[in-house]
Symmetry: C2
Subunit: 229 residues, 2 copies
Amino acid sequence: MTTSQYKFPTHHVAVDCIIFGYENEKLKLLLSHRRFEPEQGKWSLLGGWVEENETVEKAAERVLLQYTGLKDIYLEQVHVFSDPARDPGGRVISIVFFAMIRIDKHDKELVTEHGAKWWAFNKKPALVFDHDQMVEHAHEKLKLKASYELIGKNLLPSKFTVLQLRILYEAIFQRSFDPGNFRKKILSLKILERLDVKNTTDSKRGAYYYSFRKENGLSFSERIVKLHS
Amino acid sequence: MTTSQYKFPTHHVAVDCIIFGYENEKLKLLLSHRRFEPEQGKWSLLGGWVEENETVEKAAERVLLQYTGLKDIYLEQVHVFSDPARDPGGRVISIVFFAMIRIDKHDKELVTEHGAKWWAFNKKPALVFDHDQMVEHAHEKLKLKASYELIGKNLLPSKFTVLQLRILYEAIFQRSFDPGNFRKKILSLKILERLDVKNTTDSKRGAYYYSFRKENGLSFSERIVKLHS
DNA sequence: ACAAAAGTGTTTCGGCTACACCCATGC
DNA sequence: GCATGGGTGTAGCCGAAACACTTTTGT
């Protein structure tokens, strides 16, 4: 433990992760079945304590690795929840993260082993404490991000069709997009690369697979989806 | 002190505030001259410890009240900085806030009494620890916010001209805006109300003063400034 | 033949930009 | 009269949206 010259109150600090995934045309969320009090047996976000000598980001990565076996996961800070009464088990300040992971790459056994489960985003159960509010915040942040940056690299498989990307966007924004306009908009960004392979399972005619360009550091764009309609 | 059933590491948690103000056609920042180690004598953000039984928001409000005498200040979370080595005095997790205050309404004596000072945003001195990075983050957040929401209510005096608002926006975005187009865009939002008074000090002809509409709960708009040019 | 997704083209509309241009007034 | 900011008008461009239409192929 680091010695500190400060003489002031200290607090339990936790991280809670909203983990987004995409599978079977649905936006999903990885939730944990609590095995300890308080609220044992209910569903909650995946979380953990922040240890000495680690950043809150490292703590979140540790939690993710523990539950999914994955490293180098996309993580972003969402918000801090600090109501002294938010956790009946004691005063805990929680730093909330959202993560995006590729369901096809993670360790399914590790997930079940920990009592976690993937839930369709729009069918998730009520969560403990203020976790529903956290999910709400993370969803807003995800929408904001997806509105000015092409996301999907961390959610979709390495090759995917424009249809799959559109369905992902429709799941995130919970609205539909015109197929023709969506395709033109997305491809005009020059962020995707067309592969020579076609998908023939989702359509009769077959659709080209695309992947994110390697070189493309900045997947930034002016605007992909207009918010605040 | 609240009793806790948890047996895990605890941490010092602080808040640091980036306090924006507007005066003499300039975007300003309230900084503090450190009177204690480490880095005594250097400039830093205004900060304080999070106490038992208060939210991080309350802690930030407390700091603001202490330095400016103001309550009900606009506050927004920016980011959490948690590098174990960020503060040489010990391991401190810092929650960063940005605030907007009306310089004309605050308690100037209280500010000097605490060794704080208003600095022009683009002429601020280098700050201690990771505080420069925090300011950077807050500035980005301010730009984002100002891009889809008309800000100024918490920075400008209660009545102001379109010119003053434009100068504020130019200070925030560090670019110029076409006077005619800016005026039309802003007024088309129907968020401002024209008063019957004119300002005759800044121009010969005199310009109408405006104020934010009272009823107007949502000052949201599609987009005011296009980001990511 | 029909359905269903793939992919392209076209038209319309509205907002943003870049100006030009008049107004009012102090110097 | 001239400079300065106040304020209005307008033409051109470009992207978003709506939607028509053709292609391909499995059933």
